[in-house]
Amino acid sequence: MWFKLALRLFKRELGRGELTIIAIAITLAVLSVFSLSSVSSRIQDAILQKSASFIAADRVLQSANALAEDYFADAPLDGLRQAKHITFSSMVFYNDELQLAGVKAVTELHPLRGQLVLSDSPFGEQTRLKGAPARGEVWVSRRVIDVLDIAVGKELEVGAAKFKVTGVLIEEPDSGFNPFNQNPRVMMNYADVPMTEVIQPGSRITYRYLFAGEEDNVKALTDWVEPQLLDNQRWYGVKDRQSPVTNALERAESFLLLAGLLGVILAAVAIAVAAQRYCQRHYDPVAIFKTLGASSKQVRQIYVTHLIFLTLMSVIAGLAIGYGIQSVVFEMVKDFLPKPLPELGAKPFVMAVVTGISCSLMFSLYPLLQLFNIPPLRVLRRNEGDMAKNNWGYLIVSGLTVFLLMWGYSQSLKISATLFIVGATLIVVLLLVSRLFVNAGRAIGVRPSNPFHLAMASIKRRVRANSVQLITFTIAIHLLLSLSILKNDIIGEWQNQLPKDAPNHFLANVTGAELAEVKKLLTQQDIHTEGLFPIVRGRLVGVDDERLIQFVSKEKEDKSDAGGRQGIGRELNMTWRSDLPKGNEIAEGQWLKADSKAEVSVESKVAERMDIKLGSNLTFLIGAQEYKAKVTSLRTVDWNTMQPNFFMIFSDDVLANFPATYITSFHVSDEQKQPLNKFLRDYPTIMVIEVGAIIGQIQSTIDQVSIAIEFVLLIVVIAGVLVLTAQVQASIEERQQEIVILRTLGAKGSLIKNAVMLEFLMIGVIAGVMATIATEILLAVLQTQMFSMDIAIHWDIWWMGPVIGGVFVASVGLLSTVKLLTRNTSQMLRSVNM
């Protein structure tokens, strides 16, 4: 019986506001968690997989010595694919011409991630493939072909063996990105290495063991490998390498996490507001049920059934919509993503369902408990059971739930605790400030004929309710502002970093004699560069009176500049220049002047690592001579710009007399490629490095991450709108009785409308202002602590916050009021009576 009654009541209630809002909010929470954990994490997985191609694997064990045959005998290798390669430098010969080449000997499965691009002639048709050259064969880069004047089909000598050239290697995914001193590539089969006899004791050889597979398996191997790493070994994944892609990924991850979290919290607030309202509206029916003989059990059954219906419906709807969205999103972006796409798995489903159920239960629990306790006496004493008790219990339960959701979702106690404490502090501050605002209104007198005074009177009358409202509005607007600003900042910064015309070519090894011709070409083709940087190679051998060798190990430096640039301890690429290069900023000291003598500017991270201070005297070995230079500035360098960057920049006098080669970078359009290649064929010793493919990869990564971010923001916006609507709707019903009385007493519809609109407008604007202030504070914290960006004042939001707040709150309020006013007075009187 009770079930039929519950079902009937539920059907009737569905048409009314609160249940719809609760339903949408639960749906939204489920949907956002589901789509976040499926769409964005799958996009992230896919991106990660794709960026894994930067190292041709998921993890790499790099070693200076060959590992024992049985090194991995006990390792958990289940589900992992393996490959290995050896890299070393060696002279290669053809017809008496010789060239120092970077030889890479690979096994058949290489690369595990990404593909090689191969061609049968330097500018011929390209094919993508995985694999190694056959035994006795090599693939060589264009430059080998150019410098040695060799062709496909000819035999190349590497050490003691001869190999047939069977392909031109255009691109390899893990070529790294080192415009300096990159020897042209010769790729051979791993099994052919002994034939060359180049590997002797003491040879500088790098062994890399590549692994790819499911993250769990990779993790298991990581746990196995890491404890036994020696000093000259490294275990790394794509995320361990500082590159624009990993930076982008990390920021995107933080953002998605934060946004998803806030979306869920907003949805939870919407549920709480609507559930409270729903339950309050059912105080009378519950009193009637009890009067007519309903037991507490029956009342509980009826309303718990409602909650179960609602939760079920919403969770299913959320999953269905979420599934639809992720299918659509994947359909849209599948061309950008590597295949096969990562599996969806059960995790998103479980997470979404748990979130939906805990949101609906925990945030409606307390209002429901209050509803169950409504005494039947309310039928006679009309305000019996109205909110008399304080809400500490509810606050604690809700707070705890929010915290647990944050924790479960972020998997980080630190992030969730920080956000939670900041949020709680914010609410307390807002509560105080809103009281202040509202009380300030008391000074203004009341003349009922004026809508402004009516509005002020109304605000004053509901100080407590208005404070709560103000806080809800403020928080919702605040979160929306923060996220959209953060989104713009992140995406904007990426785009600034890699604009469409970012350099896609490096020209290196340009001799002084070729300089004029290169400059001519660049002018002719209207190619913009940041200038040609002279390079002199040298070694840093001393800091002040200390010789360097004792305190710098090679491994230490390898770990910290994983981008592949040569570090200190080995030969350095050094330059001189009178103007500060783009992307460089002086952190300490003064930039070199035109008349500076024996001065050097040092990159600040290197300085920190080497304990180099402003004023230190550095000793360099250039050729066979030692030179001293005083450190007069420390620079921060943005390594993500696609241009030559230097640890050491000298004043003109130090290096000018050394023979230098020049390097530059620039953007070349497709039309300009032909003349460039033609030019380069005339100057075979000039080295050209195309980074277009890498940039393309970075850009497509950023595009994908941007899609994920926009999508999440949309969900959060909907959640925010929902909170605002729920709150306005709740407070409109509170105003109903008052509106009826004013109406009955003959107040014009326009007066009431204007008064309500003004009231909401004022609350909205105040909320907007407070949200803006809170946003600036939060952004400053987040940008410095979480996203390692610079603090910036966002002038836009100073008008956006109040305008959005005022307009939105006022319009929703007005709409609801107009709906009330269209009903005739007697009808309203009747419903108010109830």
Binding site: M1, W2, K4, L5, R8, L9, R12, E13, R16, D284, P285, I288, F289, K290, T291, L292, G293, A294, S295, S296, Q298, P375, P376, L377, V379, L380, R381, R382, Q827, R830, S831, N833, M834
Partner: protein
């Protein structure tokens, strides 16, 4: 009898009995305590001191659950403010007590009762689509669906105009007669009170006099 409400004695030294089938009116000015008395008699509230027996049951010893059970079984209510559930139709409102009591033929009984109070054509209307008089007729139909032994009516016609008020009063007494229920009527209207067999007058929480109604068993 006293209700402890902020240490305020609302009712004191009240003692009376109502016989089965009898109709009594409790009259008095606003604030005289008559609604409080009604809430105690009907088991909506419990006294801090004193004893109340309803249908032979010591309801002063009952907890809320037991009182609800007793109300569902033996008591009907009619309120000044109608107290209909806004989201249920007229028919569903009438069915409500029978459904809560687990009766099978709730719908049929409700239809008959609505027909009886003259609302056979308005069964699917919601309360806010009905006039005040119509709403109170729905409430009367609802009060009788469980065939209560005792009916409590709190100012049943106070919210209605004269004509509608009289119609409701007539209907109430008519049905009460027909169902043979005991009627406890709270009103400040002496004329209405006069239609009951006995009148209890309340003043400042005390029962000052009892008198015979002038018109007994008016049909």
């Amino acid at each position: 009898m006293a209700v402890n409400d902020n240490d305020l004695h609302i009712l004191r030294d009240i003692g009376f009995a109502v016989k089965p089938g009898e109709s009594i009116a409790i009259v008095g000015a606003s604030g005289s305590g008559k609604s409080t008395l009604l809430s105690l008699l009907a088991g909506l509230d419990s006294p801090s001191k004193g004893e109340i027996y309803l249908d032979g049951e010591p309801i002063h010893q009952f907890n809320e659950e037991q009182r609800a059970q007793l109300r569902g079984k033996s008591v009907g209510f009619i309120f000044q403010a109608f107290m209909l559930v806004q989201s249920l139709t007229a028919l569903e409102n009438v069915m409500l007590p029978a459904e809560l009591a687990g009766k099978d033929n709730a719908k049929q009984m409700a239809e008959e009762l609505l027909e009886r109070v003259g609302l056979g054509d308005r069964v699917s209307h919601f309360p806010n689509q009905l006039s005040g008089g119509e709403q109170q007729r729905v409430a009367i139909a609802r009060a009788f669906i469980t065939k209560p032994k005792i009916l409590f009516a709190d100012e049943p016609s106070a919210n209605l105009d004269g004509k509608n008020g009289h119609m409701i009063e007539d209907l109430l007494f008519e049905l009460n007669q027909q169902y043979g229920a005991t009627l406890v009527l709270v009103t400040h209207d002496d004329k209405l009170a006069g239609r009951c067999e006995r009148i209890l007058r309340m003043c400042d929480g005390e029962l000052t006099e009892t008198e015979q109604g002038s018109q007994t068993n008016v049909v």
